[in-house]
Amino acid sequence: MLTTLPNPVRPAFEQTEHDGEVIVNIGPSHPATHGTIQVIAALDGEKINRVDVHCGYLHRGFEKECESHTWHNLIPYVDRLNYCSGLINNFAYCDAVEALMGVEITPRCRYLRTLLSEYSRLADHLTCIAASLMELGAMTAFLYLVMIRDYVYEHLAALTGARVTYTYGRIGGLARDLPDGWLKRLDEILTEYEKFIGRIHGLMDRNRIFIDRTRNIGVISSADAVNWGFTGPILRSTGLPCDLRKDAPYLAYAELDFDVPVGINGDNYDRYYVRMREMDESVYMIRQLIEMLPDGPINVDDRRCTLPEKHLVYTEIESLINHFKLIMEGPAAPAGEVYAAHEAPNGELGFYLVSTSGGTPYKLHVRSPSFVHMGGLHRLLEGYQLADMIPTFGSVNMIGGECDR
């Protein structure tokens, strides 16, 4: 027997404004939107007049759950925010906790985190561009990009043991050091990347179909983008060189030579091109970091957060108790609050932590770029054709895990 379920959302508008208008519902599960998002649109023919964006279908109580686990135990959870670049979430979160505890990471860890952040950014942008090109029918470009991304995933799996959810960051360090030959393979992958990204430029940049679908579609001005809270590639595509890696350098970014690519129009094409250029900058940075990478330990020697070595745990009582306390009670953070943000591939990823001292957070809040971007999505959709929703939504790169938390 069919029963009518209550509608989980209340649309902002249920009446048409005039006779020609029709209201359609798109999503939350729609083959053309990669992400669980619901868009209620008032159409005039093919033109979108108004939209009402609903998210929250993937809400899983992340912030509530965080309040009952130790600081260490949250690392696997933050992997699942933006699951295209789990390492950046790891490092941003660890950075926030380290700031709270007053821990300074070792030089090798700092450079490795920077290298892996850029590597993750590369994987994330590859995914975003591949998916949005495929939705426009560019299957070859999709396969080229996803092939490179798969090299990256396999390569990160060799380091971390997982393809997507890495859980590689640790408070005060990293899970393990690089395996033998990892940097050599990294260089091979970067060379392969350069070969194929040239083909993507050749296939897409001056492609009439691609330009017609993306040029002057989903345009936003710098002032509007700032007003609606856009950060990351979307803000930079409007011409504003706003990048935390440059403006408030964290990790090792202050020592690196790189440009902040910006667009001109703030349309879909610019967002595609900004991401393409950012990947090149990431590769350039990774190459510098390979040269700069110092030797030394990857974990700080600080008993408040770093686990003692295993052979000591088995042989001396102090280390055993230390291990026990770190696992059962968690790393002891002092009372206080901190907001730390990293430049994630989608924009500013911030962690706001409140601690009342002890091993678990009193409150943890994530400033996720995707959620804020969904608040301004209607600015990119209204006034354009219904079919333009696909490239526009693709270029925004909404990640459900991060948006809905």
């Binding site: 998210c55 929250g56 206080g336 608040g375």
Partner: protein, 157 residues
């Protein structure tokens, strides 16, 4: 650079705000709720804090004004952050909405309303955003049990 901006902001806002402090490179300004709109408007227009990053709240059930509403702002000119904090009572958890000043405030205030039940006076659209229509309670309040379930669809047996 950031120290200069913070000094100016502190001096200028001193008559309306209470304590100001510096925490991990962020200027923290605490003040009573009625001053919010005035301070935010001045931050935006005079000191160029043009990007509203985040709106959230902290629940302190044992303290007198129970909820602390927390805002983060970023200046794309000065490249520094400011945190605003204001305390509201559990019986009347109301602050002014920032929607007239920042478009991005809408979604973030809706989330904060969902999770903590803060009422943003002047926000025309406080429909649930991460939760669903008809959800009872505010899950990030400390008195909301983590295991509580409110299924929309009955469980299959």
């Amino acid at each position: 650079m950031s120290a200069q901006v913070f000094d100016v902001v502190q001096q200028q806002l001193a008559p309306v705000t209470g304590e100001c402090s510096l925490s991990h490179g962020t200027l923290v300004i605490a003040f009573p709720p009625p001053a919010l709109l005035d301070i935010v408007r001045r931050l935006k227009n005079e000191f160029k804090f043009d990007l509203l990053l985040d709106v959230t709240a902290v629940d302190w059930p044992e303290q007198a004004p129970r909820f602390e509403v927390v805002y983060h702002f970023y200046s794309t000119t000065h490249r520094v952050r400011v945190r605003l904090k204001t305390r509201v009572l559990a019986t009347d958890p109301t602050v002014d909405s920032l929607v007239p000043l920042f478009g991005s405030a809408n979604f973030m205030e809706r989330e904060c309303h969902d999770m903590y039940g803060i009422d943003f006076r002047g926000n025309p659209d406080l429909r649930p955003i991460l939760l669903y229509e008809g959800f009872v309670g505010h899950p990030l309040r400390k008195d909301y049990p983590k295991q509580q379930e409110q299924p929309l669809v009955p469980f299959r047996t």
